[in-house]
Symmetry: C2
Subunit: 153 residues, 2 copies
């Protein structure tokens, strides 16, 4: 799908705040409410707008500990890889799992309550997945920036 400058401006606004009314969006982009409505529907139907989510404050909900875990598999046969990815995706503590280049195979972002919960997670959940070779964890000391928005120009 081709995105014109108005689509991109609209996506930038919705990535910042998806609760704006179509009326407010129409005012900002100097268009009619219906025009905005049709563009949004088109972007949704074409899969450009994937989903709308609420973001919660990690501190307030008592999940104020984040870590990044490198993981190396013990074996890399197709079946093991598929199995590992399926298992790890099921863990709610794992917000992200990326297959990456470099010394390790995967990079995981793990969010839990505190260091003790993290230890619990490592011992009882992560390392109980078969075929994990080695792990290396880095703890987040401070979150300087954490955004979900891509700047569309």
């Amino acid at each position: 799908m081709e995105l014109d400058p108005i689509d991109k401006a609209l996506l930038n606004l919705l990535q910042q705040d998806s609760k704006q009314t179509n009326k407010a969006l129409a005012y900002r982009l100097d268009m009619s409410v219906t025009a905005i409505f049709e563009r949004i529907k088109k972007l949704e139907n074409n899969g450009v707008l994937k989903k709308y989510v609420a973001l919660v404050d990690h501190k307030v909900v008592d999940k104020n500990f984040s870590a990044f875990c490198h993981i190396k598999l013990a074996q890399h046969s197709r079946d093991f890889v598929v199995k590992f990815e399926k298992e790890v995706a099921k863990l709610p503590e794992v917000l992200e799992c990326h297959h990456i280049s470099g010394d390790y195979d995967y990079l995981l972002k793990v969010v839990v309550k505190d260091m003790e919960a993290f230890r619990e997670f490592m011992v009882n959940k992560l390392t109980s997945i078969q075929h994990i070779g080695s792990t290396h964890s880095m703890f987040v000391i401070n979150e300087v920036k954490n955004s979900t928005a891509l700047e569309l120009a």
Copy 2:
């Protein structure tokens, strides 16, 4: 703020899909629409619900290349650290910046169009920030999981 089990169920639902109507949420949680409305307003006012955002498909908007960059500062005096964090937070290609434990000081998530755009970003934007000692980049081969939702039990 104390969260009761209904608050947590509500937050779990809104983290999955923030466009559900209060009516739909009321039905799922077996409560009145007004009760849902009041709980959401309270969660918003207390900063538990931080913001509502639309998520776009990286592929469709031509940002289908992600990398994680480790960064080590050349010097760690307070002024340099503050300056670095401020500068890096301004870069739209940097979605996340975490101050982490370990061999490096920071871990960045960078999202751009392709490898060439990444090279461009590194040469012209990132490494033009003062006081960066060394960098080490890992490229995302495949995104196994990418979620923003914390499971509240």
